[in-house]
Symmetry: none
Subunit: 206 residues, 4 copies
């Protein structure tokens, strides 16, 4: 009995946490950290305010839990995507695709990641980059491999190139959402990869 009880307890806890995190992500995304009221999150979750505080120490902690969950999930998807392919360039394409799909699904997160980063600066960056680099390192390896194979220009600094890719993607999806998805995401996806891989110029060298 006790085992079942404990299990039930834990399950409830996780369910409630998810319930709150889901709502909170939506609200934080819409209003940003400062303008979000814990009251609204509680209401939308169909819970009392006190219940939110039962599961999350305070507003900041709730916010960071969203960031954490998102980063964790994103990292997993990206690594998983890479694992599916053999060729370095294909791996990179898959990662890009995974990125776009992830944010297409969890469009809440892009705003949270971008417009609230500086809100928490020092304290949060650590947490952020801890996840981020774990993931980026893998991509860097792929990038280097592609350079070794002569697929990518040798003179390009891979760390920078990845930063640029990340930024392009982040900012792209961000704008995409902000402007109300005026242009389709998949059309844009091919454009992004095209630009990233071969640039905007007509091949002259033929």
């Amino acid at each position: 009995m006790k085992i079942t009880d404990k299990a039930k307890r834990k399950e409830l806890t996780q369910m409630r946490q998810k319930q709150i995190l889901d709502v909170a992500a939506r609200v934080f995304s819409k209003k940003g950290f400062a303008r979000t009221q814990v009251d609204e999150i509680a209401d939308l979750a169909g819970l009392g305010k006190g219940t939110v505080y039962r599961y999350f120490k305070d507003k900041k902690n709730l916010f960071l839990s969203i960031v954490d969950r998102g980063l964790e999930s994103l990292k997993d998807l990206a690594l998983e995507a890479m694992a599916k392919e053999k060729e370095p360039l294909d791996k990179i394409k898959k990662v890009i695709e995974a990125y776009l799909k992830f944010f297409e699904k969890h469009s809440d997160l892009i705003r949270i990641f971008i417009h609230e980063q500086s809100e928490f600066q020092k304290r949060i960056q650590k947490r952020y980059y801890q996840h981020y680099y774990e993931h980026v390192n893998k991509v860097e390896d792929v990038f280097r491999e592609a350079q070794t194979l002569g697929l990518i220009k040798k003179k390009i600094n891979h760390r920078l190139a990845i930063a640029i890719l990340t930024d392009m993607l982040n900012s792209f999806i961000y704008t995409w959402q902000l402007t109300g998805q005026k242009y389709s995401l998949s059309e844009s996806f091919s454009l992004i990869t095209e630009i990233y891989f071969t640039g905007i110029l007509e091949q002259r060298g033929k």
Copy 2:
């Protein structure tokens, strides 16, 4: 006499406004809109809080004035830069350069532009895009011209391509500042243009 007085008055007003805007840009940039206190702006400007309210209706208005001033100034620089060159591709390069230089100088603004955009959403977007498009339209013309001349891939949607360029630049400078300028801006500049113009792939067609 009255004319001189009026002129003097107006000059003083403009001076005060500039004084406040400069300080406010710094503070908003460091803390974001919500965490910035009007008190701090007044203090740093060496003025009374009431004086700030004499020159700006409220906090939001002050914030938007910064955005306005920044966009105006950026637009001017970009158009001016384009005007100096004849060739379409050179025009685009100059615009990119102008962008980077502008934000290198006014690094306050990149944060304000990026992480506070959604804070004001609907109401602000109008103002933002009003400036933005006026500027973008000119660039689009250049882009189209380059395509007509066979310099840029025909299949690329110019509106999207410019959006991507803008995002790359914005987000690039943003990250650049956020991470404490670990890599040099000019080095990155050439990388960005390189990637934007020719991609990351080795030219195979030779």
Copy 3:
């Protein structure tokens, strides 16, 4: 069977009540009424919070039950102590001794009695003095008897003198505990009685 069951039930109830009261006295003593959380009492008693509420209507009621139990117990001890002696002055000494011993053992209570008295003012005073006077009256009788016998100065108002004695003792033990028992209780005890009986002055009349 039913009788035994009932008895068992009652016993359990009393046991639980004692268990809770003991813990609660400790916590209320350490933190005062307002800063004490029912949660902490339940935890320390190894019970669920709901169980505490099964045995005590609310927090205030729990607190007052402690006061009641303490006063009852103190009164018994004092009266018992007096009963053991014949001589009035000896009775008074015994009472003093009983007081000190009681609070030495139940040091929790002195804080509760003193620093929370006013917390409940009107409503509580009644209960307090109901116990108190029942007890004080007996001592007053002794005091008057000693005066009749010429042992105690005639001009002294006995009610006042007892109030002063009580205060001296209360406040003494309170300070004694508050300061971390820097000086020994028994040393101080003889000093108190000495002062109370013969004052601080050197006997001049010799």
Copy 4:
């Protein structure tokens, strides 16, 4: 002009602080720290809540300021009283008188001093005893002098004797107020000194 302005400013500040402290002392005294609402203090002071926070960092700080002001004032009165007399025993009597008069006037403070001491324990004790000992040391000197002159029993530990005196007085006035001043303060005063100086016993040694 500026000098006058500054002076005026300072005057206003002090006036407001006094205004708030006076009200706050009353309310804290009536309800204790925890049950006192800052709102009520503000209301009774005829001020907005924000104004209270303009002059005192937070509720705790306000409370401690009351304690400070009281201790300072009490210390001054006591030292002043002692200074007026030559003979050690007279000095002690004057101190007792000063004590009683002080609390007769500032009856708010006795409750605050007594029933909230433990609320703040560690942090506050320092502040309390800092004032307290400065004052007690002087009294101790007088006490020792009286012993040297053979006026006070040699075997009495002066530190303890003073602690007892203080307690008697504190607790006496406390009870006096709590019970609604049923007996007169001055009558009690002479009884206290009588008891403290010569005890309750009839002089047998004649």
